[in-house]
Assembly symmetry: C3
Homo-oligomer: 138 residues x 3
């Protein structure tokens, strides 16, 4: 069985982390699939998804870490193509990745007690994001 | 067809890398699924899974690399929430990720000759870990 | 339904990024699967796959970023095992990862307008690569 739905999100700009666990759990529950895999994918090259304990400290730390190691700069080659100052956004998003797959058990995503699925905006301005959730199983 | 099983692992603490390839291959073989995808997911926010040539040199190099770029520190925002000195554990685990999907072919995971699936403990103390292996296919 | 095919690629050496989106889209289309997940996996420990806007600037920036943060060096522990100067290749490939899962919708992989699936060669010499594309769905 395969069920696919999309989630829309409005981000506030660079470093915005949003908890999308509840929306994914609802989609999984409504899918009728009890056992399987849920894949979460954000469309576009300057956002990423992942799993974290999404408390305010780490919601600060993760984007700060990316900006320290993959800093904003006008010297990226990407700047030659677009001149929009978001070379670091692309690199951060690619490195973390646009896709996360989590197991589905008893009709719910399996996560730790302090583990959430997040959307990270890496672009330098607010964006409207489209996420695709695909659940396969039985 | 969908088959899901869990694997328990006892880790020795920060930087412990364990080869879980054999256990995953056994589960895949026992599943009866010949062609498909096997997803491996570690529950919890301070451990990660991935693929590597798991020889002693790289088992040292990968945790050392993470500790160089994402170092232990009491200055992470996460420290304000828990005061348990594992902010870097969360950041390292999130960046590498809790999930790996590998193809299943002829009833076995497809891997290179020198390629293993590993569990990496990022937390600062020994932990009992629960991994979920989900195989979908036919 | 499950369909699995392989893609062969010849890389030119360290930092070579290749756009494999077209080949994956063809396989997905030919699979007859309209809705599901496509998993792309590169066999071997010194190459990675991911998603990026694959224009010449970023095709330079991403390997350059990896070489800055995870530099070539003879001081990796891995050098003790093989003496072949590719410790950084293993670490870069593991960190980015060998696997990407993207949704399939209307018989095609879902990607942004400026978003491509790439193979990144991390090894220090040209390699013949084998990628496995597995599509599950209906």
């Amino acid at each position: 069985m395969t069920v696919q739905k999309s989630i829309a999100a409005e981000t506030s700009g660079h470093g915005d982390m949003q908890d999308i666990t509840g929306q994914i759990a609802e989609l999984v529950s409504a899918s009728g699939i009890r056992t399987g895999i849920a894949n979460v994918f954000v469309v576009g090259s300057t956002a990423a998804v992942g799993a974290i304990e999404l408390e305010p400290g780490l919601a600060h730390d993760l984007p700060a870490l990316f900006d320290r190691l993959v800093p904003p700069s006008r010297s990226y080659g990407h700047e030659q193509a677009w001149h929009d100052g978001n070379g670091h956004s692309h690199l951060q998003a690619t490195w973390l990745g646009p896709s996360l797959s989590v197991p589905v058990h008893n009709g719910a995503p399996v996560l730790g007690t302090w583990q959430q699925i997040f959307l990270l905006e890496c672009d330098v301005r607010p964006r409207r994001r489209n996420l695709i959730v695909t659940v396969v199983g039985e």
